[in-house]
Structures are given as C-alpha cells and as structure tokens.
C-alpha cells in the first residue's frame, strides 16, 4: 500500500541572480512500513525534499500526498527529526516528549514511559536537555515524534552532528525502533555507509538540478555488516552512480 506519493514535484528558489531549480520532476512512492534513505551531494535538494514532505515548505508545484491526502502544512502525522535535537531547554526529558500533551494524563504518562524505554533513556526522564549527550538528546527528539504516532517519520541528517561511535549506536537504536514500531521512515544522509546500513531502498539524488538519479533496492537482511562483501558491492555500485553523474556534469560544462 502506497503511503506517501510524490508526483512531478518541482521547486524553484528565486533570487536576484536568477532562479535555481532546487528540485526537478521528483517522483517517489513509499510503501507503508518502509525505511528509505536518501543520499546525495550537498545542494542536491534532499533536505528541501524532506521539508516539503513535512509541509514546512509549500511553495512548490506538483503534488505530495500521504494516504491520498494532499500535504498542505506541517502536522504531527509527519514526524520531523532535525539535524539538531531541538529540545526545549526549559522542559525535562519527559515533558519534552509529551510537549503539548499534559503529563497529568495517565495515558500520556504511560506512553511517554514506554517510549523512554524504547529509546533507552531510562533514568533520564527528569533530566534537562543540558544534562544529555548529543546522542541521548537526539533519541529524546525521536521519542517526541513517535509519541504522536506519525504516519511517516522524516529524519534530516539526524546523526550528522554526532561522532562516529555514537552514530553507529544511534543507527542501531533507530533500526530497533523501526523494527519494534514499524514506523515508515525517510532518512536523509550524506553518509554512504549509513544509507546502505539502514535503507531498504537507497534513493540517489543529484545536484543542479536536484533530481532522483536512481533508486537501489538493498536486498540484505538486518542487522547488516558493513565489512561484508555484499555490503561493499552495494557501496561500489552506488559510488559508480555518483561518478557517472559527475562525468555527465563535467562533460556538460566543457561543451
């Protein structure tokens, strides 16, 4: 069942120096329960695409719909994880997760406690964000999005600001959440290993204009091993795709 459908999406940024075609003719269908990673060079519009799906940017042509309903603005249906955790510094972890829901409500309380367990923040419910490490804060942000039972969870380079070790932990934590909750996820990254390690499909994007070059199915069982031959084969294949596009750009310029 198609959950998210993107048809002929185009996005232009206008400035004094003329128009920039940020996204050109994007078509993408995401099935319910999929975990899709989007990878591409900086400036390829992958974050812009995510913001458009979230409804944070609506000045576009083409259509984005979730379960057949057109996206017209931000809503809790589309959980969004920014590169920074963006927790409210004046709230404790549990209040950050509950946010606009009251913790006095028994149901909210139970769900928050459950999610704190899921993202492995046991014992930190009453801590303030300043007392958390970057990885922990990002997990709290994920719990905050999950509390709202989003139809799709959009992650915009969520682990980009973390060190390599924490990033690996976080990738496993995210896989665990995905397997337990079966939330549909779209994750934007610039880390090739991360894209293959997590994605059921890897969407390869290209810059100038931002467009989808190829969608690669990753047919490897979880948990994946980054050192495996099969993993490395996918890595090579995707790298070749990038090289191809770079040649095309270079060729286009020399003419």
């Amino acid at each position: 069942m198609t959950l998210l459908a993107i048809n002929q999406l185009n996005k232009k940024f206008s400035s004094k120096n003329g128009d920039t075609h940020a996204l050109k003719d994007i078509d993408l269908a995401v099935e319910k329960g999929e975990l899709i990673t989007i990878i591409g060079p900086s400036g390829c519009g992958k974050s812009t695409l995510l913001k458009i799906i979230a409804g944070l940017d609506t000045e576009v042509s083409g259509s984005v719909s979730i379960e057949g309903v057109e996206v017209t603005g931000p809503s809790v249906d589309k959980g969004f994880i920014f590169q920074e955790p963006r927790l409210f510094p004046w709230h404790t972890v549990e209040k950050n997760i509950a946010a606009n829901f009251s913790l006095k409500n028994k149901k909210v309380q139970e769900k928050v406690a459950e999610l704190i367990k899921l993202v492995k923040l046991d014992g930190f419910a009453k801590s303030y964000p300043r007392e958390l490490s970057g990885g922990m804060a990002q997990r709290a942000a994920i719990a905050r999005a999950l509390l709202r039972n989003p139809k799709v969870l959009l992650l915009d380079e969520p682990f980009g600001a973390l060190d390599a070790f924490t990033r690996t932990h976080m990738q496993d934590a995210l896989l665990n959440i995905w397997q337990v909750n079966k939330t549909t996820m779209l994750l934007v990254t610039h880390d090739l290993d991360e894209a293959i390690y997590l994605g059921g499909k890897v969407v390869i994007m290209n810059a100038r204009p931002g467009s989808i070059q190829k969608v690669v199915d990753i047919q490897l069982p979880y948990p994946r091993k980054k050192a495996d031959n099969a993993f490395q084969a996918y890595r090579q294949a995707i790298l070749q795709e990038f090289e191809k596009s770079e040649h095309a750009v270079m060729g286009g310029r020399s003419h």
């Binding site: 492995k120 300043r130 934590a173």
Partner: protein, 281 residues
C-alpha cells in the same frame, strides 16, 4: 541485543564524565561564597572605625560605624525608623507594581504584534529618554507634593526597564524552536505558554531586577524633593540639623533593602531558570 549494552555504556560514560567535572572543580559552599562577599565590607568598616578613633577624619563629616549603629538603635527603639521605612516601602512597592505591570503588559503587547510595535514603540522610545529627574517639577505642578506624584514618579522609573526587556525577550525566541512548535502543531496558546514565555523569561526577570532598582532610585528622588515622612525625609531632615549619623542610617537602609529586594528576585531567577546552561565563572 548486543547493542543495548553498548548504548548504555555510551550513556554511562557521559554520566561519569559529568560527575568527574563536578568533583574536579569543587563547588564552593554557601558559607564560603558568603564569606567572600563579606571580606570587603568588613575590611572597610574596620579601617573606617580605626580612622575615626585615631582622629584622622572629622566626626561630624564621617562619624564612626559604631556611632552610626548607635543612632540606628536609637531610631529603632523610638519606632520612628520603622514608621518611615513603612512609608517608603509602600511608596516603592505601589509605584513598582503600577509601573512594572504596565511596562510588562506594554512590552508583551509590542513583542507579540508588529502592528502594535509600529504604533507604540517610537513614542515609548522617545519617552524613555526623558530622565526621571527632569519630570519631577511637572509632576509636582500636576499632582502636588502628595503621594500621587511620588508613586507616579516611581512607576515611571519602573516602567521602561520591564517594557524594553519584555519586548526584547519575546523577539529573541529562536526561529528553529518555532519550527518545532509548528511541526508539533502547538496551539496559539501553547506557543505562548510553552515556547515564547519561557524563552523570554530570562529577559523579563532581568527587566524585573532593573525595574526594581529604578523604582528604588526614583523613590529617593521623590522623597528628597519634598516630603514629611519616609526614609528620604529622614535624611533631608537630619541634614538640616547636621545629624550625619542619621543621614548614614538612611543611606545604609536604602543600600541594604535595595540589595535584599534584588536577592529576592534572584531566588526566583535561580528557580525558574535552573534549566539554563550558562557560564558560572
């Protein structure tokens, strides 16, 4: 799951690091902090007293601390001091509440709406630059020497610090956090109570402290310009009879109470802003 322990391990490392930091730089106890603050005043009083005893300074111009203390006891036992203090206190609080709450409301209104800002702020900024002392003659002409002119003068002093800082606080809300509130579908009310007010609180509390200081300053100006009761009156009256000790008692009461009221707000500040992660020196 194998990654559980790793995850938890990662967390406990962070926790341990934080503890170590606290241990490594031992936080001074409350008594130590208090004693540090007392070093300078105690030293000053000792030198002052000694200078008086050995006759380095004139007793009428600079009476010894012990004499000032005796004058304080005298005034206290006759009940005069408490009465004058009460009068001053009520004036200050009255003016502070009127001016402060109006300043806060105006600051919030201007902060929330750019339309109100465009209409109100230019006038406010113009009025703000008028020194409190310069309007004293006008207030006397309008309201006479009575309580009204004094309370209004104090209110004018307290108004602008809160106005400016509440305005600034609301406008310093992080756009990124606003985006989060949008994604989480915060209602307008939740945006105000859970995002804007907490963001603006550090500024508002600073405004409160500055307003209190300004109210105190205006109180002294109001009482010195002419009054028949209050600490300011006590000071002017004593000056006419060259009772330097009483002048000192009045000044010290202003200083002590000013500091006490400031500390009072700082207690609130510490409690309300405990989430802040700032440099502690």
């Amino acid at each position: 799951m194998s990654n559980n322990s790793e995850l938890l391990y990662g967390d406990s490392v962070v926790k341990a690091k934080r503890k170590k930091k606290i241990k490594g730089k031992q936080l001074p106890s409350k008594t130590v902090i208090f004693l540090r603050g007392m070093i300078f005043p105690v030293l000053l009083i000792a030198v002052w007293e000694a200078a008086g005893i050995y006759g380095f300074v004139s007793e009428t111009l600079l009476p010894r601390p012990s004499e000032i203390f005796m004058a304080f006891i005298d005034l206290w036992t006759t009940g005069n001091l408490l009465y004058h203090f009460q009068v001053s206190f009520l004036r200050a609080i009255g003016g502070f509440i009127i001016g402060g709450s109006l300043g806060l409301l105006a600051g919030l209104a201007v902060g929330f709406s750019s339309k109100i800002e465009h209409t109100l702020d230019p006038t406010m900024q113009m009025l703000r630059t008028i020194p409190t002392l310069a309007v004293i003659p006008l207030f006397i002409l309008w309201f006479g020497f009575g309580e009204v002119s004094k309370v209004l003068l104090i209110a004018k002093g307290a108004f602008f610090p809160l106005y400016v800082n509440a305005f600034l606080g609301i406008r310093s809300v992080d756009g990124k956090m606003y985006e989060v509130a949008k994604v989480l579908q915060y209602s307008k009310w939740k945006q105000i109570t859970n995002l804007i007010i907490p963001s603006a609180l550090p500024n508002i509390l600073l405004g409160l402290r500055l307003a209190l200081g300004a109210a105190w300053l205006a109180l002294v100006a109001a009482e010195l310009m002419g009054s028949s009761e209050g600490i300011g009156y006590l000071i002017t009256d004593a000056r006419q009879f060259s009772q330097t000790t009483v002048v000192f008692v009045g000044i010290i009461i202003f200083a002590v109470f000013g500091k006490a009221s400031d500390s009072f707000i700082r207690i609130f500040e510490r409690r309300l802003l405990k989430w802040q992660d700032s440099f502690k020196g």
